[in-house]
């Protein structure tokens, strides 16, 4: 009898744990997969995994956030301008979904800026005037919502640096924004272990660009 009770208890506990665990472990694995990606196929595969989790969970914004990020990073992996646009359009759809589930989220606003930033790459003369301004605005907005968001800060600095370089201006100020952002990575306090922490490597690359100048 004791055994049966114990068994029932264990089974119950196990199922409850496994539901929450399942989301967390699936997300952790997918995040790991995304960070380890190194080719167009692997980025796309990681993004698809998040989409599946998002479709099953329905109320979590993080799967859509990472699926969007995965598509932005996929767009880095090709030179085909039409394809870049397609991945960014897809990223936008996913981000809109994330934004509906979690409004006023500085991480989501940062990704919006990131999408605009990449849009400029496709056709700088045509899109530069409109999208570089919009990207700056989104990064600024995210940094305003959370002044300690390292991603918003370094991307804002990088965008500013690009503008300064284009106009032949001094990049000291934009580089100081980047280095301020780099420090924020070490002080990040993610609310959960699934929250975004990416970007340090990218930030260090920006710092190198600063040093090269």
């Amino acid at each position: 009898m004791k055994n049966v009770l114990l068994l029932l208890l264990v089974t119950c506990l196990n199922t409850t744990f496994s539901l929450a665990d399942k989301y967390e472990s699936a997300m952790s694995m997918a995040i790991e997969k995304l960070y380890q990606s190194n080719s167009l196929e692997s980025y796309l595969d990681a993004a698809a995994t998040f989409e599946r989790i998002g479709a099953a969970e329905k109320t979590e914004w993080l799967p859509y956030y990472y699926a969007c990020l995965g598509n932005i990073w996929t767009s880095h992996q090709t030179q085909d301008l039409v394809a870049i646009d397609e991945y960014l359009d897809k990223a936008q759809v996913l981000l809109d979904h994330a934004g509906q589930l979690s409004p006023n989220n500085d991480e989501i606003v940062t990704l919006q800026g990131y999408i605009y930033m990449m849009k400029v790459v496709v056709d700088p003369p045509t899109r530069g005037p409109e999208y570089s301004g919009r990207a700056m605005q989104e990064f600024g907005k995210a940094a305003g919502m959370n002044p300690n968001n390292p991603r918003a800060t370094v991307l804002l600095g990088r965008m500013q640096m690009g503008t300064d370089q284009f106009f032949g201006n001094d990049i000291t100020e934009s580089c100081s924004i980047i280095s301020r952002g780099v420090k924020m990575f070490d002080d990040q306090k993610p609310k959960s272990k699934l929250d975004p922490v990416w970007g340090k490597e990218m930030a260090e690359m920006f710092v190198k660009e600063c040093q090269a100048n």
Partner: protein, 721 residues
Amino acid sequence: MKFVHLFILLSSIYQPILSQNMITGMIKDEFGSPMFGVNIYLKDTYDGASSDLNGKFAFKTEESGQQTIVASFIGYKTYEALLEISQNKIDLTIVLQEEINKIDGVTISAGAFEASDKKKSVVLKTFDIVTTAGATADITGVMNTLPGTQTVGEEGRLFVRGGAGHEAKTFINGLLVAEPYGLTPNNIPSRFRFSPFLFKGAFFSTGGYSAEYGQALSSVLQLNTYDIPARSQTDISIMTVGADISQTMKKNNTSLYGQIQYTDLTPTFVLIPQEYEWERAPNSLNTTLHFKHKFDGGGNIQAYSNYDQSTMILDQPLPGNINEYGRNDIVIKNTYSNVAFNNSLGSRISIQGGMSYSGNVNRIEGDNFKLDSKLNTIHTKLVFDQDVSEHIQLKYGGELIFDQYEELIFDLENKPVQQLKYSNDLISPFAEANVYFSNKLVARIGARYESNEFINAHNLTPRASLAYKLDQNSQFSMAYGKFSQLPVKEYLKWSTQLKSELATHYILNYQFVKEGRIFRSEIYYKNYDQLTTSELDSENRTQFSNSGYGDAKGFELFWRDSKTINYVDYWISYSYLDTKRKYDIYPYQVMPYYASSHNLSIVYKHFIPGIKSQIGGTFSFASGRPYTDPNTGKFNSMMTKNYNDLSVNYSYLLKPNLIFHAAVSNVFGFNNVFGYQFNAEPNENGVYESIPIQPQAKRFLFIGFFITISKDKNANQLNNL
């Protein structure tokens, strides 16, 4: 021991759940090609995979029993099917059906040119409207570099495929602009009244257009204003032709824009000597107010209002008399306002519409007369767009146009000697269906009914077009349509016995679009009927009737390439036109004065990041145009020489918010002649003397600085970091 039992028991319970089943398969499109990147998964689980480059996928699942398998890919219908997972290895072949893509799929391109940044296969980008050399930010100037248009240097408006200037109509957000151009003295080109910076996109049709548009025999230019701007800002322009300042205020989903502009050509005319004697160079004061509000549901409402007042005094030389001039003292007051809205009424139907008012008050004083004219036009329109099914889209609605014109002629003592006027109500319902047979084939069938109260004319004008996509990059498209238009006010003010003028278009188009390259070719035939004529009867009285007719045929080629050379974007347009008509005072069918057989435009833009500059050039060529030399006794039998122009422009981004722009037209100083003006009476030797109609100056120079000042908190966030 108990624990061992428990362990065995537990594992036996978990056994069926932990057993993994393998699901493998292949994803193909309708044509059997493998699809890469498709997301395949069991619904409401995390189990799934994406297909590889060979269309193959494989994943393990611990689920069993009846599950739903889903395959999704953007642009394709999501596939869902029940799957019974009982065996441990399942192999599937899934075929995905393409979704009907109404934006980037097959589109009716016959006669249609689009400027937009949203769609992929458009001929022009928004940016082109303001950066095309020779156009100096004049929208019609840009459209004039597209095939189907004829260069008519002394008019400045659009002339499309052998049609007269009035046969092209302009709309802003779907609402009519009765007088889009400023009034100028004879042979002085007029400019488009609206700033190109207002518009995010344009649709320019050279024929065969939708039943939504009427009262235009040749062409429709539809302009779409920008949505809510990104931020509040102040813009200042300082130009050789004047200055303007504008303020944009934005709060959440609402924005308000106000602009005031003063232009005066006096400095330009001092700098560049003009052919004609200007007592007062053209100058104008222009104000704009623009309100925009976005509804939560996605729709929006806009109210736009523009007022401008221009004056100019010109002494135009008269043929045969070196020291005699015809005086033109012109005062123009134009008002244009519109309110346009669109919103969705549920998921499958949307409504758009609005009302526009155009008011034009002109006063012209000549040597021995004074003429006041007033034109008021009110246009109301309501259009419904309905997705009946995935394959059928309906558009239906109606419009009312109320026109009222009055003109008063005074003698030298300021006594009215003649009053002419008319007013007309036009009622026009229309309906149209877009039928998407597949992503390769679309047909558009529609009709429009027009009833003009003033001349009691009723016309039913059918329209039909078809587009067939040959492959990923190319498509054929054809269009047919009947079009009717009220005679112009110059006739309506004299006669109530007129009929609508008619035209029929037949167009065949081939288009190839691939990664930054577009090729288009088009052939067409256009038939005119019931054109208004003015003839002298046996008692030397002018009689108006609709006994005119004519036709136009030709072919056109267009090539744009922004891919081959880095940072270089160029396009080439060629148009061949063969047209004759009997209308107006033409005694028989003959090529009209505004037509030229060959038109060529080459537009070149080069962005140089190193020096933050864009340089551009536009070369235009037009073969000679007919004119009447009374010495020959034949109508329109002589031809002017060919027209050549090379215009260049240079834009320099001094700072992110400061642009320098310079443009020079006709760099090489080609001596262009648009026609000849002959004296009404022969001289003592019996010869009619003439003077050439030429540009007022060989070259036009424009220099301007454009400054943007933003106080937006977000934009200045940088300073707070």
